[in-house]
Amino acid sequence: MLSLRSVRKSFGDRLVLDGVDLDVERGERVALRGPNGAGKTTLLRCIIGTVTPESGVLAVEGAAAGSRAARLRIGASLAQERSFYLRLTGAENLLFFARLRGASTGEARRQVDSLSEELELAELLPAPAGRCSTGQLQQLAFARALLGDPSVLLLDEPTRSLDEHARERLWAAVARRQDAALVFATHLEDDLRHATTTYDLGAR
Protein backbone atom coordinates (compact mmCIF):
# COMPACT_ATOMS: atom_id res chain seq x y z
CA MET A 1 0.00 0.00 0.00
CA LEU A 2 2.86 2.33 0.90
CA SER A 3 6.35 1.70 -0.38
CA LEU A 4 9.48 3.74 0.33
CA ARG A 5 12.87 2.89 -1.13
CA SER A 6 16.19 4.61 -0.35
CA VAL A 7 14.56 7.91 0.59
CA ARG A 8 17.15 10.60 1.23
CA LYS A 9 16.59 14.19 2.23
CA SER A 10 18.83 16.93 3.57
CA PHE A 11 18.29 20.60 4.32
CA GLY A 12 21.48 22.43 3.48
CA ASP A 13 24.33 20.54 5.08
CA ARG A 14 22.07 18.66 7.48
CA LEU A 15 21.21 15.15 6.38
CA VAL A 16 17.76 14.33 7.77
CA LEU A 17 16.76 11.13 6.00
CA ASP A 18 19.41 8.74 4.73
CA GLY A 19 18.20 5.75 2.78
CA VAL A 20 14.83 5.09 4.40
CA ASP A 21 13.18 1.85 3.27
CA LEU A 22 9.69 1.11 4.49
CA ASP A 23 6.72 -0.95 3.35
CA VAL A 24 3.32 -0.52 4.94
CA GLU A 25 0.54 -2.96 4.19
CA ARG A 26 -3.20 -2.50 4.37
CA GLY A 27 -4.33 -2.37 7.99
CA GLU A 28 -0.78 -2.01 9.31
CA ARG A 29 -0.03 0.63 11.97
CA VAL A 30 3.54 1.92 11.83
CA ALA A 31 4.93 4.13 14.58
CA LEU A 32 7.83 6.39 13.63
CA ARG A 33 10.13 6.90 16.59
CA GLY A 34 13.22 8.93 17.14
CA PRO A 35 14.49 11.99 18.98
CA ASN A 36 13.64 15.54 17.94
CA GLY A 37 15.15 16.26 14.55
CA ALA A 38 15.40 12.59 13.60
CA GLY A 39 13.25 13.26 10.51
CA LYS A 40 9.85 11.84 11.52
CA THR A 41 7.86 14.85 10.31
CA THR A 42 10.06 15.24 7.24
CA LEU A 43 9.39 11.62 6.29
CA LEU A 44 5.63 12.17 6.66
CA ARG A 45 5.92 15.32 4.53
CA CYS A 46 7.81 13.41 1.84
CA ILE A 47 5.02 10.82 1.71
CA ILE A 48 2.36 13.54 1.51
CA GLY A 49 4.34 15.34 -1.16
CA THR A 50 4.86 18.71 0.48
CA VAL A 51 8.61 18.03 0.73
CA THR A 52 10.49 16.52 -2.20
CA PRO A 53 13.29 14.10 -1.32
CA GLU A 54 16.60 14.32 -3.15
CA SER A 55 16.46 10.70 -4.10
CA GLY A 56 14.47 7.57 -3.52
CA VAL A 57 11.16 6.14 -4.62
CA LEU A 58 7.91 6.69 -2.72
CA ALA A 59 4.64 5.15 -3.87
CA VAL A 60 1.12 5.21 -2.43
CA GLU A 61 -0.90 2.30 -3.82
CA GLY A 62 1.29 2.43 -6.90
CA ALA A 63 0.96 6.18 -7.40
CA ALA A 64 4.05 8.35 -7.03
CA ALA A 65 4.03 10.29 -3.76
CA GLY A 66 3.04 13.89 -4.41
CA SER A 67 0.91 13.02 -7.43
CA ARG A 68 -2.79 13.96 -7.28
CA ALA A 69 -3.74 10.27 -7.21
CA ALA A 70 -1.49 9.71 -4.19
CA ARG A 71 -2.73 12.81 -2.38
CA LEU A 72 -6.33 11.70 -2.87
CA ARG A 73 -5.55 8.45 -1.03
CA ILE A 74 -3.83 10.15 1.90
CA GLY A 75 -5.42 11.76 4.92
CA ALA A 76 -2.88 13.72 6.93
CA SER A 77 -2.63 15.63 10.15
CA LEU A 78 0.52 17.73 10.47
CA ALA A 79 1.25 20.81 12.60
CA GLN A 80 -2.33 20.65 13.82
CA GLU A 81 -2.21 23.84 15.84
CA ARG A 82 -1.30 26.08 12.92
CA SER A 83 -3.06 24.72 9.91
CA PHE A 84 -6.58 26.06 10.28
CA TYR A 85 -8.36 29.13 8.97
CA LEU A 86 -8.89 30.68 12.36
CA ARG A 87 -11.78 32.96 11.38
CA LEU A 88 -13.74 30.00 10.02
CA THR A 89 -15.63 27.72 12.37
CA GLY A 90 -14.52 24.14 12.86
CA ALA A 91 -17.40 23.02 10.65
CA GLU A 92 -16.51 25.53 7.91
CA ASN A 93 -12.89 24.35 7.99
CA LEU A 94 -13.92 20.70 7.63
CA LEU A 95 -16.49 21.44 4.91
CA PHE A 96 -13.89 23.44 3.00
CA PHE A 97 -11.37 20.59 2.98
CA ALA A 98 -14.05 18.03 2.15
CA ARG A 99 -14.95 20.12 -0.91
CA LEU A 100 -11.27 20.31 -1.92
CA ARG A 101 -11.16 16.52 -1.79
CA GLY A 102 -13.93 16.39 -4.37
CA ALA A 103 -17.07 16.00 -2.27
CA SER A 104 -20.23 17.78 -3.38
CA THR A 105 -21.74 20.25 -0.92
CA GLY A 106 -24.25 17.66 0.31
CA GLU A 107 -21.66 14.90 0.54
CA ALA A 108 -19.25 17.19 2.39
CA ARG A 109 -21.96 17.97 4.94
CA ARG A 110 -22.72 14.26 5.39
CA GLN A 111 -19.04 13.51 5.95
CA VAL A 112 -18.70 16.28 8.52
CA ASP A 113 -21.90 15.25 10.32
CA SER A 114 -20.73 11.66 10.43
CA LEU A 115 -17.30 12.58 11.82
CA SER A 116 -18.89 14.95 14.29
CA GLU A 117 -20.95 12.09 15.69
CA GLU A 118 -18.11 9.56 15.64
CA LEU A 119 -15.55 11.84 17.29
CA GLU A 120 -18.01 13.79 19.48
CA LEU A 121 -17.18 17.14 17.92
CA ALA A 122 -20.65 18.71 18.09
CA GLU A 123 -19.59 21.35 20.60
CA LEU A 124 -16.42 22.25 18.70
CA LEU A 125 -17.78 22.66 15.23
CA PRO A 126 -19.80 25.89 15.61
CA ALA A 127 -16.89 27.81 17.18
CA PRO A 128 -14.29 29.74 15.18
CA ALA A 129 -11.13 27.67 15.04
CA GLY A 130 -9.26 30.61 16.55
CA ARG A 131 -11.16 30.13 19.79
CA CYS A 132 -10.35 26.43 20.09
CA SER A 133 -7.69 25.11 22.43
CA THR A 134 -4.67 23.25 21.13
CA GLY A 135 -6.24 19.92 22.04
CA GLN A 136 -9.49 20.85 20.33
CA LEU A 137 -7.63 21.86 17.17
CA GLN A 138 -5.86 18.52 17.29
CA GLN A 139 -9.22 16.75 17.36
CA LEU A 140 -10.38 18.83 14.40
CA ALA A 141 -7.15 18.06 12.54
CA PHE A 142 -7.71 14.34 13.07
CA ALA A 143 -11.28 14.68 11.80
CA ARG A 144 -9.97 16.53 8.76
CA ALA A 145 -7.51 13.69 8.06
CA LEU A 146 -10.43 11.24 7.98
CA LEU A 147 -12.44 13.21 5.38
CA GLY A 148 -13.13 11.17 2.27
CA ASP A 149 -12.20 7.90 3.97
CA PRO A 150 -8.52 7.82 2.88
CA SER A 151 -6.71 4.52 2.54
CA VAL A 152 -3.50 5.89 4.10
CA LEU A 153 -3.45 7.93 7.30
CA LEU A 154 -0.39 10.00 8.21
CA LEU A 155 -0.50 11.52 11.69
CA ASP A 156 2.21 13.61 13.32
CA GLU A 157 2.10 13.20 17.10
CA PRO A 158 -1.67 12.73 16.97
CA THR A 159 -2.31 12.50 20.72
CA ARG A 160 0.22 15.06 22.00
CA SER A 161 -2.34 17.55 23.34
CA LEU A 162 -5.36 15.29 23.81
CA ASP A 163 -7.03 14.40 27.07
CA GLU A 164 -7.52 10.73 27.89
CA HIS A 165 -11.08 10.55 26.57
CA ALA A 166 -10.13 12.20 23.27
CA ARG A 167 -7.16 9.84 22.91
CA GLU A 168 -9.48 6.86 23.33
CA ARG A 169 -11.85 8.24 20.69
CA LEU A 170 -8.96 8.76 18.29
CA TRP A 171 -7.60 5.24 18.61
CA ALA A 172 -11.11 3.78 18.45
CA ALA A 173 -11.70 5.65 15.19
CA VAL A 174 -8.40 4.32 13.82
CA ALA A 175 -9.37 0.78 14.88
CA ARG A 176 -12.69 1.06 13.02
CA ARG A 177 -10.74 1.78 9.81
CA GLN A 178 -9.26 -1.69 9.62
CA ASP A 179 -8.27 -1.46 5.97
CA ALA A 180 -6.45 1.82 6.26
CA ALA A 181 -2.67 1.91 6.61
CA LEU A 182 -1.48 4.20 9.37
CA VAL A 183 1.92 5.83 9.79
CA PHE A 184 2.27 8.05 12.82
CA ALA A 185 5.10 9.86 14.55
CA THR A 186 5.16 9.76 18.31
CA HIS A 187 7.26 10.25 21.42
CA LEU A 188 4.65 8.66 23.71
CA GLU A 189 5.04 5.10 24.93
CA ASP A 190 1.29 4.82 25.34
CA ASP A 191 0.76 5.40 21.61
CA LEU A 192 3.08 2.52 20.77
CA ARG A 193 0.49 0.05 22.08
CA HIS A 194 -1.52 0.85 18.97
CA ALA A 195 1.34 0.19 16.55
CA THR A 196 1.83 -3.13 14.78
CA THR A 197 5.33 -2.09 13.69
CA THR A 198 7.84 0.43 14.95
CA TYR A 199 10.32 2.22 12.71
CA ASP A 200 13.11 3.90 14.62
CA LEU A 201 14.60 6.79 12.66
CA GLY A 202 17.12 7.56 15.37
CA ALA A 203 18.65 4.08 15.22
CA ARG A 204 20.02 4.25 11.68
Binding site: I48, T50, R71, A79, Y85, R87, L88, R99, L100, G102
Partner: protein, 259 residues
Amino acid sequence: MSALLALGRRDFVQARSYRTALAFDLGWGVVNVLVYYFISKVFPQAGGLGKAPSYFAFAFAGILISLVVSSTASDVASKLREEQLTGTLELLVAQPLRSSDIALGAAVFPSVYALVRVALYLAVAVSLLDLSTAHTQWAGVVLMLLLSTGAFLALGIAAAAAVLVLKKVAVVDVAIFAMTFVSGALFPLAVLPGWLRAIGRVMPTEPAFAGMRAALYGGAYAGDAAILAGVGLVGVPISLVLFARALAYAKRRGSISEY
Protein backbone atom coordinates in the same frame (compact mmCIF):
# COMPACT_ATOMS: atom_id res chain seq x y z
CA MET B 1 -14.26 24.33 -10.76
CA SER B 2 -15.69 23.17 -7.41
CA ALA B 3 -12.26 23.64 -5.82
CA LEU B 4 -12.11 27.22 -7.13
CA LEU B 5 -15.57 27.93 -5.74
CA ALA B 6 -14.61 26.40 -2.39
CA LEU B 7 -11.45 28.54 -2.23
CA GLY B 8 -13.42 31.66 -3.18
CA ARG B 9 -16.10 30.92 -0.62
CA ARG B 10 -13.44 30.38 2.08
CA ASP B 11 -12.06 33.88 1.42
CA PHE B 12 -15.55 35.39 1.36
CA VAL B 13 -16.44 33.82 4.73
CA GLN B 14 -13.14 35.06 6.19
CA ALA B 15 -13.67 38.58 4.85
CA ARG B 16 -17.27 38.61 6.10
CA SER B 17 -16.06 37.72 9.59
CA TYR B 18 -14.26 41.10 9.66
CA ARG B 19 -17.47 43.10 9.17
CA THR B 20 -16.14 46.41 10.47
CA ALA B 21 -12.98 46.18 8.38
CA LEU B 22 -15.06 45.32 5.32
CA ALA B 23 -17.35 48.31 5.84
CA PHE B 24 -14.34 50.56 6.50
CA ASP B 25 -12.66 49.32 3.33
CA LEU B 26 -15.72 50.13 1.22
CA GLY B 27 -16.20 53.49 2.96
CA TRP B 28 -12.54 54.42 2.57
CA GLY B 29 -12.80 53.73 -1.14
CA VAL B 30 -15.71 56.17 -1.39
CA VAL B 31 -13.66 58.78 0.53
CA ASN B 32 -10.82 58.24 -1.94
CA VAL B 33 -13.22 58.91 -4.83
CA LEU B 34 -14.49 62.04 -3.06
CA VAL B 35 -10.94 63.37 -2.64
CA TYR B 36 -10.42 63.36 -6.42
CA TYR B 37 -13.89 64.84 -6.93
CA PHE B 38 -12.99 67.88 -4.79
CA ILE B 39 -9.47 68.18 -6.26
CA SER B 40 -11.19 68.36 -9.62
CA LYS B 41 -13.37 71.22 -8.34
CA VAL B 42 -10.20 73.17 -7.52
CA PHE B 43 -8.83 72.73 -11.05
CA PRO B 44 -11.91 72.90 -13.31
CA GLN B 45 -9.89 73.92 -16.36
CA ALA B 46 -7.46 70.99 -16.31
CA GLY B 47 -6.42 70.12 -19.86
CA GLY B 48 -4.85 67.22 -21.73
CA LEU B 49 -7.39 64.75 -20.38
CA GLY B 50 -8.47 63.27 -23.69
CA LYS B 51 -12.20 62.61 -23.80
CA ALA B 52 -12.58 62.71 -20.00
CA PRO B 53 -14.84 65.69 -19.29
CA SER B 54 -13.07 66.66 -16.04
CA TYR B 55 -10.06 65.75 -13.94
CA PHE B 56 -12.40 63.80 -11.65
CA ALA B 57 -13.66 61.76 -14.60
CA PHE B 58 -10.05 61.12 -15.68
CA ALA B 59 -8.87 60.07 -12.23
CA PHE B 60 -12.02 58.04 -11.55
CA ALA B 61 -11.26 55.67 -14.44
CA GLY B 62 -7.75 55.31 -13.02
CA ILE B 63 -9.12 54.51 -9.58
CA LEU B 64 -11.37 51.77 -10.98
CA ILE B 65 -8.57 50.05 -12.87
CA SER B 66 -6.15 50.48 -9.95
CA LEU B 67 -8.66 48.62 -7.80
CA VAL B 68 -8.63 45.71 -10.22
CA VAL B 69 -4.83 45.78 -10.44
CA SER B 70 -4.27 45.80 -6.69
CA SER B 71 -6.88 43.09 -6.08
CA THR B 72 -5.72 40.66 -8.73
CA ALA B 73 -2.00 41.36 -8.67
CA SER B 74 -1.12 42.35 -5.11
CA ASP B 75 -3.81 40.59 -3.05
CA VAL B 76 -3.20 37.18 -4.64
CA ALA B 77 0.51 37.30 -3.81
CA SER B 78 -0.21 38.55 -0.27
CA LYS B 79 -2.81 35.85 0.29
CA LEU B 80 -0.47 33.03 -0.66
CA ARG B 81 2.36 34.46 1.43
CA GLU B 82 -0.02 34.60 4.41
CA GLU B 83 -0.96 30.96 3.82
CA GLN B 84 2.72 30.04 3.69
CA LEU B 85 3.33 31.77 7.02
CA THR B 86 0.29 30.37 8.83
CA GLY B 87 0.76 26.80 7.66
CA THR B 88 -2.42 26.45 5.62
CA LEU B 89 -0.54 26.43 2.31
CA GLU B 90 0.96 23.07 3.21
CA LEU B 91 -2.52 21.71 3.86
CA LEU B 92 -3.69 23.00 0.48
CA VAL B 93 -0.70 21.46 -1.27
CA ALA B 94 -1.45 18.16 0.50
CA GLN B 95 -4.95 18.06 -1.01
CA PRO B 96 -5.60 16.52 -4.44
CA LEU B 97 -5.48 19.92 -6.16
CA ARG B 98 -3.52 21.15 -9.14
CA SER B 99 -1.10 23.98 -8.45
CA SER B 100 -3.22 26.05 -10.86
CA ASP B 101 -6.27 25.45 -8.60
CA ILE B 102 -4.36 26.94 -5.67
CA ALA B 103 -3.18 29.96 -7.67
CA LEU B 104 -6.48 30.68 -9.41
CA GLY B 105 -8.48 29.90 -6.28
CA ALA B 106 -6.59 32.59 -4.39
CA ALA B 107 -7.74 35.08 -7.03
CA VAL B 108 -11.47 34.27 -7.02
CA PHE B 109 -12.59 36.37 -4.07
CA PRO B 110 -10.25 39.38 -4.65
CA SER B 111 -11.38 39.55 -8.27
CA VAL B 112 -15.09 39.36 -7.48
CA TYR B 113 -14.72 41.80 -4.58
CA ALA B 114 -12.86 44.26 -6.83
CA LEU B 115 -15.72 44.14 -9.34
CA VAL B 116 -18.27 44.70 -6.56
CA ARG B 117 -16.32 47.75 -5.37
CA VAL B 118 -16.07 49.05 -8.93
CA ALA B 119 -19.86 48.75 -9.27
CA LEU B 120 -20.38 50.55 -5.94
CA TYR B 121 -18.04 53.41 -6.80
CA LEU B 122 -19.59 53.75 -10.25
CA ALA B 123 -23.03 53.98 -8.65
CA VAL B 124 -21.81 56.64 -6.20
CA ALA B 125 -20.03 58.64 -8.90
CA VAL B 126 -22.95 58.56 -11.31
CA SER B 127 -25.72 59.21 -8.80
CA LEU B 128 -24.01 61.65 -6.41
CA LEU B 129 -20.95 63.14 -8.12
CA ASP B 130 -22.35 64.03 -11.55
CA LEU B 131 -20.14 61.62 -13.47
CA SER B 132 -21.42 61.95 -17.00
CA THR B 133 -22.46 58.73 -18.70
CA ALA B 134 -23.75 60.41 -21.86
CA HIS B 135 -21.07 58.69 -23.96
CA THR B 136 -20.50 55.62 -21.82
CA GLN B 137 -20.33 52.28 -23.60
CA TRP B 138 -21.35 49.99 -20.79
CA ALA B 139 -20.46 46.80 -22.63
CA GLY B 140 -17.02 48.27 -23.14
CA VAL B 141 -16.71 49.11 -19.44
CA VAL B 142 -17.58 45.52 -18.50
CA LEU B 143 -15.22 44.16 -21.15
CA MET B 144 -12.34 46.34 -19.99
CA LEU B 145 -12.90 45.28 -16.37
CA LEU B 146 -12.95 41.59 -17.26
CA LEU B 147 -9.94 41.78 -19.56
CA SER B 148 -8.02 43.81 -16.98
CA THR B 149 -8.83 41.18 -14.37
CA GLY B 150 -7.43 38.45 -16.64
CA ALA B 151 -4.33 40.42 -17.60
CA PHE B 152 -3.40 41.43 -14.07
CA LEU B 153 -4.27 38.01 -12.72
CA ALA B 154 -1.31 36.81 -14.77
CA LEU B 155 0.82 39.39 -13.00
CA GLY B 156 -0.60 38.39 -9.60
CA ILE B 157 0.13 34.70 -10.08
CA ALA B 158 3.63 35.46 -11.36
CA ALA B 159 4.09 37.70 -8.30
CA ALA B 160 2.85 34.88 -6.04
CA ALA B 161 5.43 32.58 -7.64
CA ALA B 162 8.13 35.16 -6.94
CA VAL B 163 6.93 35.56 -3.35
CA LEU B 164 7.12 31.78 -2.75
CA VAL B 165 10.77 31.92 -3.75
CA LEU B 166 11.83 35.36 -2.47
CA LYS B 167 9.49 35.42 0.58
CA LYS B 168 8.90 39.18 0.31
CA VAL B 169 5.54 40.73 -0.58
CA ALA B 170 6.68 44.34 -0.24
CA VAL B 171 8.62 44.06 -3.51
CA VAL B 172 5.40 43.24 -5.34
CA ASP B 173 3.48 46.11 -3.76
CA VAL B 174 6.16 48.64 -4.66
CA ALA B 175 6.37 47.33 -8.23
CA ILE B 176 2.61 47.55 -8.70
CA PHE B 177 2.42 51.06 -7.25
CA ALA B 178 5.26 52.21 -9.50
CA MET B 179 3.59 50.63 -12.52
CA THR B 180 0.22 52.32 -11.97
CA PHE B 181 1.88 55.62 -11.03
CA VAL B 182 3.86 55.98 -14.26
CA SER B 183 1.22 54.63 -16.62
CA GLY B 184 -1.40 57.32 -16.12
CA ALA B 185 -3.69 56.24 -13.31
CA LEU B 186 -4.16 59.74 -11.91
CA PHE B 187 -2.60 62.11 -14.44
CA PRO B 188 -1.97 62.14 -18.18
CA LEU B 189 1.29 60.63 -19.39
CA ALA B 190 2.00 63.92 -21.17
CA VAL B 191 2.94 65.61 -17.89
CA LEU B 192 5.74 63.11 -17.22
CA PRO B 193 9.35 63.64 -18.30
CA GLY B 194 10.10 61.99 -21.63
CA TRP B 195 12.05 59.03 -20.29
CA LEU B 196 9.38 58.25 -17.68
CA ARG B 197 6.62 58.66 -20.27
CA ALA B 198 8.36 56.06 -22.42
CA ILE B 199 8.37 53.62 -19.50
CA GLY B 200 4.72 54.37 -18.72
CA ARG B 201 3.65 53.62 -22.28
CA VAL B 202 4.95 50.05 -22.18
CA MET B 203 3.39 49.16 -18.84
CA PRO B 204 0.48 46.68 -19.11
CA THR B 205 -1.62 49.06 -17.02
CA GLU B 206 -1.47 51.77 -19.70
CA PRO B 207 -3.94 50.14 -22.13
CA ALA B 208 -6.21 49.31 -19.18
CA PHE B 209 -6.40 52.99 -18.15
CA ALA B 210 -6.72 54.22 -21.73
CA GLY B 211 -9.33 51.62 -22.66
CA MET B 212 -11.42 52.25 -19.56
CA ARG B 213 -11.43 56.00 -20.25
CA ALA B 214 -12.44 55.36 -23.84
CA ALA B 215 -15.27 53.06 -22.76
CA LEU B 216 -16.48 55.49 -20.09
CA TYR B 217 -16.25 58.75 -21.99
CA GLY B 218 -16.67 57.82 -25.63
CA GLY B 219 -13.80 56.53 -27.71
CA ALA B 220 -12.32 53.49 -29.34
CA TYR B 221 -11.29 50.85 -26.84
CA ALA B 222 -10.95 47.82 -29.13
CA GLY B 223 -7.18 48.21 -29.53
CA ASP B 224 -6.58 48.45 -25.80
CA ALA B 225 -8.96 45.52 -25.22
CA ALA B 226 -7.01 43.43 -27.72
CA ILE B 227 -3.73 44.18 -25.94
CA LEU B 228 -5.17 43.20 -22.57
CA ALA B 229 -6.71 40.04 -24.02
CA GLY B 230 -3.30 39.13 -25.46
CA VAL B 231 -1.57 39.77 -22.14
CA GLY B 232 -4.13 37.58 -20.34
CA LEU B 233 -4.11 34.75 -22.88
CA VAL B 234 -0.35 34.53 -22.98
CA GLY B 235 0.36 35.67 -19.44
CA VAL B 236 -1.96 33.44 -17.41
CA PRO B 237 -0.61 30.11 -18.73
CA ILE B 238 2.98 31.34 -18.35
CA SER B 239 2.31 32.56 -14.81
CA LEU B 240 0.72 29.22 -13.89
CA VAL B 241 3.83 27.40 -15.11
CA LEU B 242 5.96 29.79 -13.03
CA PHE B 243 3.77 29.15 -9.99
CA ALA B 244 4.03 25.37 -10.43
CA ARG B 245 7.82 25.70 -10.64
CA ALA B 246 7.92 27.94 -7.57
CA LEU B 247 5.89 25.36 -5.62
CA ALA B 248 8.25 22.61 -6.76
CA TYR B 249 11.19 24.76 -5.63
CA ALA B 250 9.56 25.32 -2.23
CA LYS B 251 8.97 21.56 -1.86
CA ARG B 252 12.63 20.87 -2.57
CA ARG B 253 13.69 23.54 -0.09
CA GLY B 254 11.12 22.39 2.47
CA SER B 255 9.73 25.92 2.68
CA ILE B 256 6.05 25.36 1.87
CA SER B 257 5.49 26.11 5.54
CA GLU B 258 7.50 28.94 7.02
CA TYR B 259 6.16 29.28 10.53
